[in-house]
Amino acid sequence: MTRTQAAPLRPDSSVEVAPVGDRGRRSRRALGYGFLTAYALLMFVPFAWTVITSFKTQPDSVRMTFIPDPITVEGWQRAFNELNPPVMQLFLNSAIIAGTVTITNVVLGSMAGYAFARLRFPGREFLFLLVLGTLMIPDQLRMVPVYQIMQTLGLSRGDLQYGGVILILAISATSVFLLRQYFLTIPRDLEEAAKIDGAGFFTTFWRVMLPLASPALAAVAILSFQGAWNGFFWPLIIMSERDNWTLPLGLTQFRFEFFTQWPPLMAVVALATLPILVLYLFFQRYFVEGIAASGVKG
C-alpha cells in the first residue's frame, strides 16, 4: 500500500556501481549476513522450543535436548482433557470474537473510509480528526467508564459478555484510516463512469470501490483478526464468566494451574499461536504492509 503512495520512481539504470574488489565492503557484507542469520534464529528458536517441549514427557521437558525422548502426545492429551473450560471451548470463543470483530472492522471501516475519502459533507475534516484523535486515548483510561457503560447496557453478564467485547472492538480508528488512505489513491475516472451510468453513491461504493480496495480490505481484516485473537485487556475486563474466556485468558489461568507442567502448557501456547501463524505464512505481505501503512502519517 505504501508503494502505491510513493512518488513515481525514475528509471534507475545508473545506480549501483559498487567498486570492484572493495574488501571492506565484502567483509561488512559477511558480518551483516552473520548477524542477520543469528538474529533470525533468535526469533524462531523459542517457538520451535515450545513445539518440541509440547511433545516431551515431564522429566524430559527440562532437558536441553532437541529431539523428545520419547516422543509423546501426553502433553496434548492433558491440554485437551484436563482443563476447565476445555481448550476447544476457549478456541471457539476466541474464533467467535475474532471473526466477528474482523467482519465489523472491514464493513464499518470501508463504509466510513469511503465516506471520508470521497463524499462531501459538512464537518467531514473535523469528524475525521476526531476519529484519528481516539488513537491518542489509552485503553486503560477507558477501562472504568467503558466497564460502567457495558454494565448499564447489560453487556457485562452471561453470554452477553461476547457482545460487550465485540462492541468495544467493533471498529478501530486504524481500520478507518487505512481504508480512507487507500480509497484516496483510487483514480476518480471509474466513479465518474459509474455516475454517468446512473449509479448512486451506495451502488458506486458497493460495485466499484469495494472490489478495487481488496488489498486494503485484506490488510484491515488481517490486522483486526490478529488484534482480536491476541487481545488480552478487554476480555480480561469484561469476561468474568469462565465459560466465555478466550485463549489468552485461559492461558494465563493455566499457567497457575499447570504451574511447572511444561508439556501441556506449551501445547496450549502452540495451539493459541497456530491460527495466526498459518495466516502469517499465507498472508505475510498484508501483515507487513498493514503495519507499515499504519505508521505512515497521512
Partner: protein, 316 residues
Amino acid sequence: MAAAATRRRRFVIRYGSGREIFAGYALIAIPLILFLVLNIGSILFALVISVFEWQFRGGAGEFVGPGNYERLLADRTFHKAIYNVVTYALWVVPLQMALGLLLAVIVNAKIRGQTFFRAAFYFPAIASSAAITVLFIFIMQPEGLFNGLRAALGLNPIFEALGFGPRHNWLGSASTALGSIMALNIWTTSGTMMLFYLASLQSISREVYEAARIDGANAWHTFWRITFPLLKPAHFFVATVSVIGALQLFDQAYIGGGSNGDPNFSLMSIVLYLYNAAFRQVNLDYAAAVGIVLFVIIFGATLVQRQLFGRTPAWQ
C-alpha cells in the same frame, strides 16, 4: 432571494447534493457513534467518576473533588509503579529504536533473502502477549532454555562475575524480573519498529544518496549525515509509539508476576495498579483517577518528544 440562491449553490458545490451529504452521514454513523460513546465520551465519564464516590452498581455517590488524586499521588505503591515504568521506558525505548533502525537499514540494503529476513524479524510480534509471556516464563525458569544455553556456550563465568548463579531464577528474583520483561518486549517489538523505519527509509529519494556518493561520502557518513537526519519524522513516530507502549506495560507484568507484580512489586506497573484498584479493591473512582493521571503522563511525554524531535517537516 438571489443571495440565498447563490449561497445554496456554493454549498452544493462544496458539499455535494443533499443525497451525497445523506450518504456521507449514513456511512459514518455507526462508527462515529461508537467512537463518540466509547472513546471521546469515556474520557469525560472517567473525569466525572474520578471526583465522586462511585458505587459499583449505584453510580455517583458523594462528591469528593480532588481527594482521589491527592491520595493517589501520595501512595507508595503508585510511586513504585511509576518508578518501574519509567525505568522500563528508559531502557526499552532507546534499545527498541536502535535495534529497529539497525534491522531496517540492513533489510533495506540489497541483500539476498530480504523478504525472508523481514518476515523473520517481525515474527515474534504476531503471537499474543499471553502466549509469548508464558513461553518466556518457561525459557527463563531455573531449568529453562536460557540457563541451559548460557552453560552450553560457556558463558557462565561472565554471568558468575555479574553475580548470577547457574540456576538463577530470572523472573522470580526482584532484581532481575523487570529486566527480563524488558528483554521480552525488546525481542517481540523491535520487528514492528523495523517495519515503521522501513516504510520511511523507502521514501527517501535515491538522488540524495547519489549526490552523496558523487561527493565521495562513505557508508558510515552517508548514514549519519543523511539517512539518520532524514528519518526525523520516523524517529518521532517510533519514539512516541514505543514510549506509549512502555507506559502502558500490563499484560506481561500481570502474567509474569500476578496482580501484585511479584516478586516484591518489582513488576508493578501503572496499569497493573489501575487494574487492581478497579477489580481487586473495587474502587472505581480511584481507578478512574489513575487512568486520568496515566493519560496526562502519556500526553506530556508525547509533547516532550515533539519538542525533542521538532515538528514534522513539510515534505513528509
